[in-house]
Amino acid sequence: MDSRLGKTWLIAGYVFLYVPILTLIIFSFNASKMVTLWGGFSFKWYGVIAHDSEVVNGFFLSMKIALMTATASVVLGTLAAFAMVRYKSFFGRTVFFSHINAPLVVPEVITGLSLLLFFVMCERLFGMPERGMFTIWAGHTSFGLSYAAVIIQSRLLELDKSLEEAAMDLGCRPFQVFYLVTLPMIAQSLMAAWLLTFTISLDDVVTTAFLSGPGSSTLPLVILSRARLGLDPTVNAIATITVAVVAVGVVAGSLWMSRQERRRAAEQSAAYREGMQAMGA
């Protein structure tokens, strides 16, 4: 009885989550211009977006910014995480700590607005930077590094400290310890942080809206402005492509991860069995 109730809830949950996305995908193949009325099957909206320079430019700008943001966030985030985990007391640690975490809790509107004011002031004083790709990148990185730092920090905390001590014991200078032992050990979390900040940057609207200048509209901004003017199936088509890319990425990633995990577990138990046999012999 209980299990049936549970199943019902589960299905209701899935419906709530996925039906809107399914509708969106289905209507991207709609021959009619109406977003809610089915007018036959067609690929025409996909052809339209391929020739829509605003969409194409927005897409490439978004990708560029996301790539740069993810990379910068991971580098800065690693440094920040390292400082917080390894140096238990330095001047201004508490302030540093809260500054690293602040962007996670401060409303994005405020982050965006304050960055805008800051860049406007800079522009007035120094004549630069002009609002555009650079300012968006800087804005995204300012909170991307917080996410990266949190992820990397948790990995660093669980890292067996004796690994680094062993490296030092065997003759590594502090910097060698970092890139020969620490870095390979936290590589997976760096990857995770990179992917997360990449996606955060890719679909960010609020900060981007504040920091973009003329001619620097990212894809989310393009979609948003289109939606404001009245929905049109090109938006559905863009969304469908995005969903497809993400789905393939996620499924491939998790398949690979679970295979790695299984292989590791199998190797471990094999080693254990061997050990037991050796003891018996």
Binding site: L163, D169, G171, M185, R264, A270, A271, G275, A278, M279
Partner: protein, 382 residues
């Protein structure tokens, strides 16, 4: 003072290969290691033994260079190492968790330290092969650590430490991560390897059996100080204080008062019985002392012990007490009896099970005599 330090730390003095001189480490006013001095001979296996928090690990970590001493000096082979960073010390440490690099193969793990020394490639290969040979892991060279059993991982860790041919090998709870059966086998193997390589070794352990089996000498530590330093037998048979007696092995303790104090024997009275000790002690009449007696030194029998049975106890009536058997614990190789003496005190006595079937089976509730030899009594004066 400066003179004596300079003299005693000259190279070639193998009895002071490692010299620790008045070493202390304070963590926020708390002394983890408190003014400790120690000499370790070349080629010796030395164990620091104590319960957790006694400072043994801090001392080991200072030797490795992971903790800076608050005061004091350390000399290895005449060289002052106290201010040397860990990567320059000719010392290698085997960690309790082994700390094998999970992203490197067995071969790469062993070669890791050699590569840092910029040793030529062919020499590295040669040395790694030799090390893997010593620990019998040649067929596993290409495996990653997680593909090895616990015992194999421990051997990789050992090979990695020995590969750099350190002057001093540090072992942090070397067998702590292994299960019991494997531990017993490994103890001897580990000692054999260390002895065959000839490296001087300092180890830390909380397991008194492990320390006794492996070490040439043991230092029992408590609250950052050495309570007793000596050979395992010395520490077991002549503990210097109550803590050491109780920490190393099982012990029965009696409170007593010195009644007769002669140069060649002492008689101590306690509520349970009068103890005849066949050697002199540094004490005076009426001094309160503790008496320690190991369970295996106590004999149990149904009839009163005869004079012939205990010649050295000399006079009748000493070193024996009547009691009832309160509990029997069978351990296989020996059986431990809990005996309630007439005074109400419960003592432990153990008997080795040399024969498969004993003729005289002692039973619970049985009345027996417990007696021991005057030379087995340890008098602790403090």
């Amino acid at each position: 003072m400066a003179d004596s330090v300079a003299n005693s730390t000259g190279r070639g003095d193998s009895s002071q290969f490692l010299k620790i001189d008045r070493l202390s480490k304070h963590f926020d006013e708390v002394a983890a290691v408190d003014n400790v001095s120690l000499d370790i001979k070349k080629g010796e296996i030395f164990a620091l033994l104590g319960s957790s928090g006694c400072g043994k690990s801090t001392l080991l970590r200072m030797l490795a260079g992971f903790e800076m001493p608050s005061s004091g000096n350390m000399y290895l082979d005449g060289e002052d190492i106290a201010k040397m960073p860990p990567y320059e010390r000719p010392i290698n440490m085997m960690f309790q968790s082994y700390a094998l690099f999970p992203h490197l193969t067995v071969w790469e793990n062993v070669a890791f330290g050699l590569k840092r020394d910029r040793m030529p490639k062919d020499q590295i290969a040669e040395r790694v092969e030799a090390m893997l040979g010593i620990v019998k892991l040649k067929p596993f060279a290409k495996r990653k650590p997680h593909q090895l059993s616990g015992g194999q991982q421990q051997r990789v860790a050992l090979a990695r430490c020995l590969a750099k041919r350190p002057k001093l090998l540090l072992l942090d709870e070397p067998l702590g991560a292994l299960d019991r059966k494997l531990r017993e086998e490994t103890q001897f193997e580990l000692v054999n390897i260390i002895k065959s390589v000839g490296v001087t070794c300092a180890m830390v352990t909380h397991d008194q059996e492990e320390a006794m089996i492996m070490a040439d000498r043991i230092a029992v530590m408590q609250e950052g100080r050495f309570l007793q330093v000596g050979h395992p037998r010395e520490i077991y048979e002549t503990p210097s204080c109550l803590f050491v007696a109780g920490f190393i092995g099982d012990v029965n303790l009696f409170n007593g008062t010195v009644e007769v104090d002669e140069p060649d024997h002492v008689i101590i009275g306690s509520p349970e019985c009068r103890h005849f000790v066949n050697h002199g002690i540094t004490g005076t009449i009426d001094m309160q002392v503790n008496i320690a007696l190991r369970p295996e030194k106590i004999c149990l029998q149904e009839i009163e012990p005869t004079i012939e049975q205990r010649e050295s106890a000399a006079e009748h009536g000493y070193n024996s007490a009547r009691g009832t058997i309160d509990g029997i614990a069978y351990f296989g190789k020996f059986t431990q009896f809990h005996v309630r003496l007439e005074s109400g005190k419960i003592i432990k006595a153990s008997r080795e099970n040399t024969a498969r079937h004993e003729e005289t089976q002692l039973e619970r509730g049985q009345q027996i005599y417990a007696w021991w030899d005057g030379s087995d009594v340890v008098v602790l004066t403090n």
